[in-house]
């Protein structure tokens, strides 16, 4: 009796296992994502996962910032995964309010950042600004 029930339960288990496996790979798009990631370099994978546009901006900022420079990220939602990834990639640079550099991801045209000059502009929305007088 118990063995019979067990066999039925195991058959259900296998059916669900196959169904959810197929669902994840082909309906939820995991296989497609793996295809995109497979031939990318480590740097390319970081870029894909972070978002190519944001990663390009981080890379540009990293090149401009001297050691020990601080930054402030603007245009990305507070405490979002993007903010965490930027902090991770940019370490040993720390984020502070009174930063040496502003990394602007989504600039609103009417906002003026006084005391800062653009040192790298990627497009109309993304740029890196440096505080006047900072090293």
């Amino acid at each position: 009796m118990v063995y019979k029930i067990f066999k039925i339960a195991f058959a259900v288990w296998i059916a669900l296992w196959v169904m959810f496996g197929v669902r994840e790979l082909f309906i939820k798009g995991a296989a497609k994502e793996y295809g995109k990631l497979f031939f990318r370099s480590l740097e390319g994978k970081h870029s894909y996962l972070t978002g190519d546009k944001l990663y390009e901006l981080i890379t540009a900022a990293n090149k401009k910032m001297p050691p020990n420079a601080t930054y402030k990220l603007i245009g990305v939602e507070k405490d979002s995964i993007e903010v965490r990834r930027v902090a991770y990639y940019l370490y040993p640079h720390f984020e502070t309010d009174d930063a040496d550099f502003l990394i602007i991801y989504d600039s609103r045209g009417d906002v003026v950042y006084e005391g800062y000059d653009i040192v790298e502009s990627l497009d109309s929305a993304r740029c890196v600004m440096k505080k006047r007088g900072a090293q």
Binding site: F6, W13, Y34, L42, L49, R84, A87, Y88
Partner: protein, 453 residues
């Protein structure tokens, strides 16, 4: 070259763990060589990360040499000791029926997929990046824990109170790789997955056939939530590993108390659970309570040997947790989510309303086949059907262990400062992973007479 260094790093971890096992004469307990290897891996990862924490006190920098020399010294010391012992043997015929081959295929698919998923992406998920990988990067770039880390830097990132076992283990891998490769470092996580599956297989094989053990190993491996956490660089699977191994060895010691090596290794693994995640401390309490129950129920509270065993168990956990607890205390690092001062009857009464959302979320997980297949309804059904066996022999201690785990998490939620619905949605499905291997093992013990394979 990086792959070669990765393999050397992982072998170093196994070497470190193996040396500790040899130090406690683990072989004499009769453990199988494969069990020793699977235990050595997790033990080595935990021990090396503890060693790297001790380097903070001694002001030693992380290099391949400074990390490996103590283990080579221990190896030389161990060579003098007598490590002989009679290993347990598993009986089996040579024939492998089709069902075994299919189960091996299913397990292999799940293991291969876990490795693939882990290694196709660098570390990228929220907690893995924000809490753990950032710490590993800080330690790797400084080749140590910076002197102002606990007083200044740690406060700049979330959860400075979370234990550093896995961040330091990642730093250990980076040190061997000689570069910050946050893709290869993820190899440590599916290896914990393999460790759990292997330990489950051999634990079940001790009382059942190969096909039966493979069946339960497959069931665990094919649980979607369990498999996905083998790849995302979270700490839940390493914690599940440490708790599971500590529990398995504890139950084995209860069956034969002359094998005290199992008790010692169980205590070390429980301590490492606490060193991996704050929730691990709860499992130290759970295991201690289980030994206490054992002392009362099976020895009638009269056995001084059991009391002594309890003292040894607690001492080992204390020694493992001491450096980290000391650092937290002296640096003023506190947990912002759980307030232990809230653990009092009047506050618990005030928080009683949380029981409703806790059980609502639990039933969502219970009947959630996308994450758990039909495990929980099946487990409930098996327990009802086998209610007479629930408290037989060692089974009652497995039951107590599981019941205390669930109760412990309910208490966590009751004393938590975080908004309950948000906290539940972020954590319940992960907490269940921690005791999942013990649950599957328990089901295997309950069904052993009904399902003959």
């Amino acid at each position: 070259m990086q792959i070669v260094m990765l393999v050397i790093a992982l072998l170093t971890a196994v070497f470190a763990g193996w040396n500790i096992l040899r130090l406690v004469s683990f072989k004499r307990a009769g453990a199988l060589p494969a069990e020793e290897l699977l235990t050595a891996y997790g033990l080595g990862i935990g021990a090396i990360s503890l060693q790297m924490l001790l380097f903070y006190f001694l002001n030693v920098r992380y290099t391949i040499l400074t990390i490996t020399v103590p283990w080579i010294a221990l190896f030389i010391l161990n060579m003098r000791s007598n490590g002989t012992g009679v290993r347990d043997r598993l009986k089996d015929g040579e024939n492998r029926p089709v069902i075994e081959k299919l189960l091996v295929l299913g397990i292999s698919l799940e293991v291969a997929y876990a490795f693939f998923r882990a290694l196709i992406k660098p570390i990228e998920s929220y907690d893995a990046v924000a809490i753990y990988a950032i710490k590993a990067k800080i330690f790797y770039l400084a080749q140590s824990i910076p002197s102002d880390y606990f007083t200044r830097i740690s406060a700049l990132y979330p959860h400075p109170d979370y234990p550093l076992c896995i961040p330091l283990a990642e730093t250990f891998i980076y040190t061997f790789l000689g570069s910050f490769n946050d893709q290869l470092v993820k190899m440590i996580f599916p290896l914990f997955f393999v460790g759990i599956l292997g330990m489950l297989y051999f634990a079940v094989r001790r009382f059942a056939s190969r096909a039966y053990a493979l069946l339960f190993t497959f069931l665990l491996a094919s649980i979607p939530q369990f498999n996905s956490y083998a790849a995302n660089a979270y700490q839940d699977l390493p914690l599940a590993y440490y708790y599971f191994v500590s529990a398995i060895f504890l139950f084995r010691w209860m069956e034969d108390r002359s094998r005290s090596q199992y008790l010692v290794v169980s205590a070390v693994m429980a301590g490492l659970a606490g060193w991996t995640k704050n929730e691990g401390m709860m499992y130290c309490v759970v295991n201690t309570a289980v030994i206490f129950a054992f002392a009362l129920l099976d020895t009638g509270g009269r056995s001084w040997k059991t009391v002594r065993s309890l003292a040894v168990y607690l001492s080992i956990i204390f020694v493992i947790m001491l450096p980290w607890t000391w650092i937290k205390k002296t640096s003023g690092i506190v947990n912002g989510e759980i307030e232990l001062a809230n653990l009092n009857p009047s506050n618990m009464l005030k928080q009683i309303y949380k029981i409703v959302p806790i059980f609502y979320e639990f039933q969502k997980q219970f009947f959630g086949p996308k994450k758990w297949n039909i495990l929980f309804p099946a487990a409930a059904f098996i327990m009802i059907l086998n209610y007479k066996k629930l408290f037989q022999g060692t089974g009652k201690y497995i039951f107590i262990s599981l019941a205390l785990s669930v109760a412990g998490y309910c208490v966590f939620y009751m004393i938590s400062l975080v908004e309950i619905n948000y906290f539940l949605s972020k954590t319940w499905s992960r907490f269940l992973i921690h005791f999942l291997p013990v649950l599957v093992y328990y089901l295997a013990t309950l069904l052993k007479e009904d399902v003959k394979l």
